[in-house]
């Protein structure tokens, strides 16, 4: 094993030799190596988180036709560090009557539920935490812990607006978990496995985004709702309930909530890359040609993965800064009356076609899947248009005066 080809195993093997040479037992050696590896991975994730604060502020500035932080350091790169220092030295005001233990537990649980997702994120074929065979459901489980952290934070603040915000946020998050879990079944069916490594390797011929674009769109929408970002950010609706469930949090605790949200968004971008864009691979068979064999290098794969994850994060930011906020009853109606049935239809379609088209050559399979998605999308849009037309007719029938006004306005 050379370092360049297999870095993690190389270092682990070297450390294992060192530690067993010192006389430690095998199990203890494993635990120590895990400790060191996990600490390195988590520190990497947190440093990435700090960088994401800078990315977020620069990108939102560009979307809003301004420059963003550019005073501190070149291109404002030191800005997030200044932010962290500011947050740490701010006074930590605990509201009267707050439940001390739960109040402190909220932000810790919020970030912990995002960090544990990095255990299964495959940075490359050889650089990853652990290859769980239930990784896809693990993503949903981490989301469940995040939901719990919001309730804990909202309730422990002893503030009815915080509690109200927490309730709305949780109702939002659990509703959008259903289409997300249903859509997560689609890469499982296409790759015949729940492990992220196998899903990535199954996409070496063709991305799942092309096999099932509707699944990608539904996953994107549900992910944005899970994150609680705009246009689904009822939680942080400044004009409605101030800052939602984290009104009463100051200083570093608020910093942890905020940084946790950004890291969560990036992690979801990473999962989108893994599940739909081929993760660290997905070069359409290019890496098998001798000239491009450097594409198999773990470091190159890690860079490719991070680039795709950043692209996913950028799409999430793009949607955040381009669309207005959606009202909560519209949000829930959208989920239960549109997204869930659509997700179930796409799932049934994928399952049926994966058996029916199994015998065809590769291009037949790809085209069949892709066109079935286009057909479903087309039918959905037609149904929506017919429904909209019917609603408009009902409105004009009720009040012909307003219809006349509308026509004159147009």
């Amino acid at each position: 094993m050379i370092f360049l080809n297999d870095p993690i195993n190389f270092i682990a093997g070297w450390m294992r030799g060192l530690l067993t040479g010192w006389g430690l037992s095998d199990g203890l050696t494993t635990v120590i190596i895990y400790f060191i590896g996990i600490t390195v991975l988590i520190v990497f994730a947190m440093v990435l988180d700090i960088l994401l604060v800078w990315v977020e502020r620069k990108v939102v500035a560009r979307f809003q036709d301004r420059i963003g932080p550019n005073r501190i350091g070149p291109f404002g790169l030191i800005q997030p560090f200044a932010d962290i220092i500011k947050l740490i030295i701010k006074e930590d005001i605990t509201p009267a009557g707050a439940d001390k233990l739960l109040y402190n537990l909220g932000p810790v649980l919020a970030i912990a539920s995002v960090i544990i997702l990095w255990a299964i994120l495959p940075l490359s074929e050889k650089i990853f935490g652990v290859d769980l065979n239930v990784a896809v459901l693990y993503l949903v489980a981490a989301g469940a812990l995040g939901t719990l952290s919001i309730i804990v934070g909202g309730w422990a603040s002893n503030n009815k607006y915080a509690l109200l915000g927490a309730f709305r946020m949780v109702a939002n998050m659990i509703s959008y978990e259903i289409p997300m879990v249903v859509v997560l079944l689609i890469p499982t069916i296409l790759a015949d496995s729940m492990s992220v490594q196998k899903i990535t390797q199954a996409q070496s011929g063709m991305w799942f985004a092309i096999l099932s674009p509707l699944a990608l769109i539904i996953f994107l929408i549900s992910a944005i709702a899970e994150l609680g970002r705009s246009p689904f950010d009822l939680n942080e609706a400044e004009s409605e309930i101030v800052a939602g469930f984290h009104i009463e949090y100051t200083g570093m605790k608020f910093g942890l909530f905020y940084a946790g949200e950004l890291l969560h968004a990036f992690t979801f971008g990473g999962f989108m890359a893994v599940l739909f864009f081929g993760g660290y691979g997905g070069f359409f068979g290019l890496e098998k040609i001798g000239f491009f064999s450097w594409l198999n290098n773990p470091f190159v794969q890690a860079v490719v993965f991070l680039a795709k994850a950043m692209f996913g994060y950028w799409v999430i930011m793009w949607i955040k800064y381009s669309m207005p906020r959606i009202r909560i009853d519209h949000m829930l109606a959208f989920n239960w009356k549109f997204l869930t049935p659509l997700a179930l239809v796409v799932l049934v379609n994928t399952a049926v076609l994966s058996k029916v088209l199994a015998g065809l050559p590769n291009w037949g399979y790809v085209l069949g899947m892709f066109f079935s998605n286009i057909v479903i999308g087309f039918i959905t849009v037609e149904i929506l248009r017919a429904y909209g037309r019917k609603q408009r007719k009902a409105e004009t029938k009720l009040s012909p005066q307003s219809a006349q006004n509308q026509e004159q306005a147009v």
Binding site: Y34, E91, I93, P95, G97, I111, L185, M194, E248, D329
Partner: protein, 118 residues
């Protein structure tokens, strides 16, 4: 015996310790001057009216119930999805039947107006 979940367990432990570090650091460094006005809960800048309990809508509970049913359903669908490659075509139809029965439930809840936020 190598259990891959050991890694996840250690990850969870360190994942809880790592955010505590800046919190502890902040407690060491930040000033602490509590006074009753600073510690009063926030209500749009005015004094709080009433205690911290309001009548919450029952609608939250109904959405959580419907979510629970569909969550259990999707959890059942995961083993089904993994068996598709090995088994013949009728297995897909079994899954479709499963989903269809629950879609009937969703339609019932829809028609009864349980999915409104009224």
């Amino acid at each position: 015996m190598q259990n891959e979940w050991l890694y996840v367990g250690i990850f969870l432990v360190i994942g809880i310790i790592v955010p505590i570090v800046p919190l502890v650091f902040s407690r060491l460094v930040a000033p602490r001057k509590p006074n009753p006005i600073k510690q009063s809960t926030y209500e749009c800048g005015i004094e709080t009216v009433g205690d911290s309990w309001v009548q919450f809508k029952a609608q939250y509970y109904i959405f959580a119930l419907v979510f629970l049913i569909f969550d259990v359903e999707t959890v059942f669908l995961f083993p089904w999805a993994l068996s598709l490659k090995q088994m013949p075509l009728f297995v897909v139809l079994e899954g479709v039947l499963f989903i269809a029965i629950l879609v009937v439930g969703l339609l019932y809840a829809w028609r009864k107006g349980m999915l409104e936020w009224a």
